[in-house]
C-alpha cells in the first residue's frame, strides 16, 4: 500500500511502479518507461473516437491509430530502435532526428514468410555440419588408433627428395595422417560456419553456394583419404561402415540444406530487387 492508502500500480511489463501523474493520458512505468493507461483515459485514437488506438506517441503520449502515426527508426547508443510519433507538427519536429520507416518498402521487403523455412534450413544444415564435424573428429582418432594400437597399418609412404634423401614411413605415416586429418577438420569447420550463416537473410544465398562447394571438396577429400590410408583393408568390420554411414547422413543433410538455402536466398534476392525497382530506390554502398 502507498502512503495515501492506495495500492501501488504495477507495470504490466516489468512489474515496476507506475505513478499516476496524468488521468487522461498515458503514464510511464518508473522502471522501464512502458506506457500504461491513465485511470480515465479512453482507449481510442485521440483523433478518431471509436477507433481503437494502435500506438502511443513517444513525444506527447497521445494514443493514435494507424492513420495518425509515423514510425521512425532512431539510433540510440549505436543501436537502431523503433519509435512512434503522432502527426502533430511539434511531435514531428521533436522526432526529426530519427529516420521515417519506409512502410511501403518494409512491406515489400518483408521476409516474415521465410522465418519458418529459415529455421528449418538452419537446423538441417547445422545438424548435418555438426555430424560432419563429429565424423571428422572421430575419424582422426580412429585412424590414429588403428595405426598405432592395432597390428593394421596403412601402406608405407616414402617421400623422395632428390636422389639420395628419402623420408621413410616412420615419419611420413604420422605426418600424412596429421596433415590429411587436419585438412579434413578444417573443411568441416568451414562447413560448420557456413551452415550457421544460412540463418542470416543477407548471407543465405552466399552461404548456400559456399556449403555446396565445400561439400564437394569434403567428399572428394574423404574418398582420396580413405584410399590413401587403405581403409578398405581395415580388419574391423564396424569402423568403416559406421564412418561412411555417418558421413553420408551428414552429407545428405548439408546437401539438402544448402539447396534450400540457395533457393530461399535467391527468392529473397529477387524480392528485394523487385521492391527496389518498384519504389525506384537505389542500394546504398556498404549494405
Amino acid at each position: 500500500m502507498t502512503e495515501a492508502g492506495q495500492e501501488q500500480i504495477m507495470c504490466p511489463v516489468c512489474g515496476g511502479p507506475v505513478i499516476i501523474d496524468n488521468k487522461d493520458k498515458v503514464n510511464r512505468c518508473q522502471y522501464c518507461a512502458s506506457p500504461v493507461l491513465g485511470p480515465s483515459q479512453s482507449r481510442d485514437c485521440v483523433n478518431h473516437p471509436g477507433v481503437l488506438a494502435k500506438e502511443v506517441c513517444h513525444v506527447c503520449g497521445d494514443l493514435v491509430c494507424e492513420k495518425c502515426m509515423q514510425k521512425r527508426v532512431g539510433e540510440y547508443g549505436g543501436k537502431l530502435l523503433t519509435i512512434v510519433n503522432c502527426q502533430k507538427p511539434s511531435c514531428i519536429a521533436e522526432s526529426e532526428w530519427a529516420k521515417p520507416l519506409n512502410e511501403e518498402y518494409q512491406k515489400l521487403a518483408n521476409m516474415d514468410w521465410a522465418d519458418r523455412i529459415d529455421n528449418i534450413i538452419l537446423r538441417i544444415t547445422g545438424f548435418g555440419a555438426i555430424v560432419m564435424m563429429v565424423f571428422e573428429l572421430l575419424f582422426f582418432l580412429g585412424v590414429l588408433y588403428f595405426q598405432y594400437f592395432t597390428p593394421w597399418s596403412m601402406p608405407e609412404v616414402r617421400l623422395v627428395l632428390g636422389s639420395s634423401f628419402v623420408v621413410g614411413p616412420f615419419l611420413m605415416i604420422p605426418v600424412s595422417i596429421l596433415v590429411f586429418c587436419i585438412f579434413g577438420n578444417l573443411l568441416a569447420a568451414i562447413l560448420l560456419q557456413s551452415a550457421l550463416q544460412v540463418y542470416v537473410p543477407d548471407r543465405q544465398l552466399g552461404a548456400g553456394v559456399t556449403l555446396l562447394v565445400i561439400l564437394i571438396i569434403e567428399v572428394a577429400h574423404l574418398l582420396f583419404r580413405g584410399l590413401f590410408f587403405g581403409l578398405l583393408t581395415l580388419p574391423n568390420p564396424y569402423f568403416l561402415p559406421l564412418m561412411i554411414g555417418a558421413f553420408l547422413f551428414g552429407t545428405v543433410l548439408v546437401f539438402i540444406g544448402s539447396l534450400m538455402a540457395i533457393y530461399v536466398g535467391n527468392k529473397k534476392r529477387i524480392q528485394l530487387k523487385k521492391a527496389r525497382i518498384q519504389l525506384n530506390l537505389t542500394l546504398k554502398k556498404g549494405t
Binding site: I9, L37, Q106
Partner: protein, 475 residues
C-alpha cells in the same frame, strides 16, 4: 609475457648475486665480490622481480617503471657493448675444462634486444597496458567474474510479491505458481508481471487497472489494446523496441538499454526475431537501407570462444613452463645444503649458477618446441570440439529467455537470472560495454566535480575571517 620475461631476468640476477656472495664468502673471489653481489641484487634481481610481478597487472606505475628500467638496461648494456665489443667473454676452469667461456657480449646484446622490444611494445600499446588515471581495476578474480556476469534487468525482488508489496513464503509462492499455467477462456487476457498468471481483460476496472486473479497485485493496463503478434489470446504487454511490433511477456526478452539520454527506461525489450538480429528496418531517404551489418553483425566473433579457449590453453602451458625454473632452484638449494665450508662446492655452485643463465633458456626453448608438437594438435582438436558444442547450442536455439521465463526462474532460484546471449547476434549487447565505459567516465566526472566543490568550500572558508571583518566594520 613481459612480466614473466622480466621476472626471469630477476631470477637469473638473484642466482648470480647469491652465487657471487657465496663465492666471496668462501674465498673464491676477492672482497670486491660483495660489491658486485650487491650491485647485481640491487640493480637486476630486486627491480626485475618487483616490476615483473606488477607490470602485466594493468598498473600504470609499474608499466612506467618497466619502461624506465628497460631504458637504463639498454643504455648500460649498449655502453658495455661499445666498450668491450660483442666478442667479450669470461673464461674459467670447470670440471676439467681449462677454459670454459661465457659469452658476456652476447648476453649484453640479448639484453639490449629484449629490453628494446619491451620498450617498443609498451609504448605502442600504452593505452591497453596502462589504465588511465583514476580508472579502477578489479584484480580479485571472483569479484571480476561477478562484474562481468550481468543479470536480467528487473525492478522486482526475486520472489513473488503479495498485493501489499511484501514477499510471499515459499509455500505460498508454489501454490500460486502451480495454478498460473491455466489459460483463461474468457477472451483476451493480460499476463501478470508478478506471477505470470493470465487474468481476463473483462476484469479491467473503470480506472484501467485490474487485480491479478492469482497473486492479487494491482496491474496497470498496457496503453493500447493490441493482441500479441504470436499469442492472440494475450494482450500485448509492450512493443519490441527494435521492430516496434506488439508482443506479450512470453515473446519478449529484456536487456539493459543503450547509453543515450533520450532513452528513458531502464530496459530494452526485444522479440525473438530482433534478438537474433533478423529484423531489417527499411529506412529510406533518397537511397535506402541503413547498413545493417554494421549494427547487427552476425559473423566473425562467433568463433571467438575458440580463440579464448586457445588463449587459456596457451596460458596454462606458459604457467606450466614456470615450473621449469623449479628444477635449477631445487638443485642449487641442495648444493647449498651440502656446502659446509668446502671451497670446491662453492666454486661449483657459482659456476653452475652462471651455466644456468645460459642453459635454462636453451632448455626452455627445446622443451617448448617439443611441447608445441604435441600441444598444438591437442589445442586444435580441443578448439574444434568447442566449435562443435557452440554450433550445437546455436542449432538447438535455446538461448532466447523470455521475460516471463526469467521471472519464474528468479522466483524459483531466489536470485535474478543471468542474461543469455544470442549466439546468432553476438554484438547485441555491445552497448553494455559502452554503458560501463560511460558509467566509469560519469563517476570520474562526479569525483572531479565533488573535488572541485570541496576545494571551493575550503577556499570559501579560508576567506570567511576577512569577510567577517568587513561585515563587522560596515554592517
Amino acid at each position: 609475457m613481459i612480466g614473466v620475461t622480466q621476472m626471469t631476468f630477476g631470477v637469473f640476477g638473484l642466482f648470480a648475486s647469491i652465487g657471487i656472495f657465496l663465492g666471496t664468502f668462501f674465498g673464491a673471489l676477492g672482497s670486491i665480490g660483495y660489491v658486485y653481489g650487491m650491485l647485481l641484487f640491487g640493480g637486476v634481481a630486486f627491480p626485475c622481480l618487483v616490476i615483473g610481478n606488477y607490470v602485466d597487472d594493468l598498473r600504470r606505475r609499474a608499466v612506467a617503471a618497466q619502461i624506465v628500467y628497460s631504458l637504463i638496461a639498454v643504455v648500460l648494456s649498449g655502453y658495455f657493448l661499445y666498450v668491450q665489443g660483442i666478442s667479450y667473454y669470461w673464461g674459467f676452469p670447470i670440471f676439467g675444462n681449462p677454459d670454459f667461456g661465457i659469452a658476456i657480449g652476447n648476453i649484453a646484446a640479448f639484453i639490449v634486444a629484449s629490453q628494446s622490444l619491451i620498450i617498443l611494445y609498451l609504448l605502442a600499446r600504452w593505452k591497453a597496458v596502462a589504465p588511465p588515471p583514476g580508472a579502477s581495476v578489479e584484480r580479485d578474480k571472483t569479484r571480476a567474474r561477478l562484474l562481468r556476469s550481468t543479470h536480467v534487468p528487473s525492478p522486482l525482488e526475486p520472489a513473488l510479491l503479495a498485493p501489499d508489496g511484501s514477499t510471499l513464503s515459499p509455500d505460498e509462492e508454489q501454490k500460486i505458481l502451480g495454478v498460473t499455467k491455466v489459460v483463461t477462456e474468457e477472451g483476451m487476457a493480460i499476463l501478470c508481471s508478478n506471477c505470470n498468471g493470465a487474468t481476463p481483460l473483462s476484469k479491467v476496472g473503470e480506472d484501467n487497472t485490474l487485480h491479478c486473479d492469482f497473486c492479487g497485485v494491482l496491474l496497470g493496463v498496457s496503453s493500447v489494446f493490441v493482441p500479441c503478434e504470436n499469442h492472440k489470446e494475450y494482450l500485448a504487454a509492450t512493443t519490441c523496441n527494435v521492430c516496434g511490433k506488439h508482443f506479450c511477456r512470453q515473446c519478449l526478452t529484456v536487456q539493459e538499454p543503450p547509453v543515450d539520454e533520450r532513452w528513458e527506461g531502464s530496459a530494452v525489450y526485444l522479440c525473438k526475431k530482433c534478438f537474433e538480429g533478423r529484423y531489417r528496418p527499411a529506412v529510406t531517404t533518397a537511397s535506402l537501407v541503413i547498413p545493417i551489418d554494421q549494427l547487427f553483425s552476425t559473423a566473425g566473433s562467433r568463433f571467438s570462444r575458440v580463440g579464448q579457449l586457445y588463449r587459456s590453453f596457451l596460458g596454462a602451458y606458459a604457467s606450466g613452463m614456470k615450473y621449469l625454473w623449479r628444477v635449477p632452484l631445487e638443485l642449487l638449494a641442495s648444493i647449498g645444503k651440502s656446502g659446509g665450508g668446502n671451497n670446491d662446492n662453492c666454486a661449483g655452485a657459482l659456476i653452475l649458477m652462471v651455466i644456468v643463465i645460459i642453459a635454462i633458456p636453451i632448455l626452455a626453448g627445446i622443451l617448448m618446441i617439443l611441447g608445441a608438437i604435441i600441444i598444438i594438435p591437442i589445442l586444435f582438436y580441443a578448439g574444434l570440439i568447442a566449435v562443435t558444442v557452440e554450433a550445437a547450442k546455436i542449432v538447438s536455439g535455446t538461448d532466447f529467455q523470455s521475460v516471463d521465463n526469467a521471472r519464474v526462474r528468479a522466483i524459483h532460484d531466489h536470485r535474478h537470472p543471468k542474461v543469455t546471449e544470442s549466439k546468432l547476434r553476438p554484438s547485441v549487447r555491445v552497448w553494455e560495454d559502452e554503458y560501463r565505459r560511460a558509467s566509469s567516465e560519469h563517476r570520474r566526472l562526479i569525483r572531479g566535480i565533488e573535488a572541485e566543490k570541496r576545494e571551493h568550500e575550503r577556499r570559501r572558508r579560508s576567506r570567511e575571517p576577512s569577510a567577517s571583518f568587513w561585515r563587522d566594520e560596515y554592517d
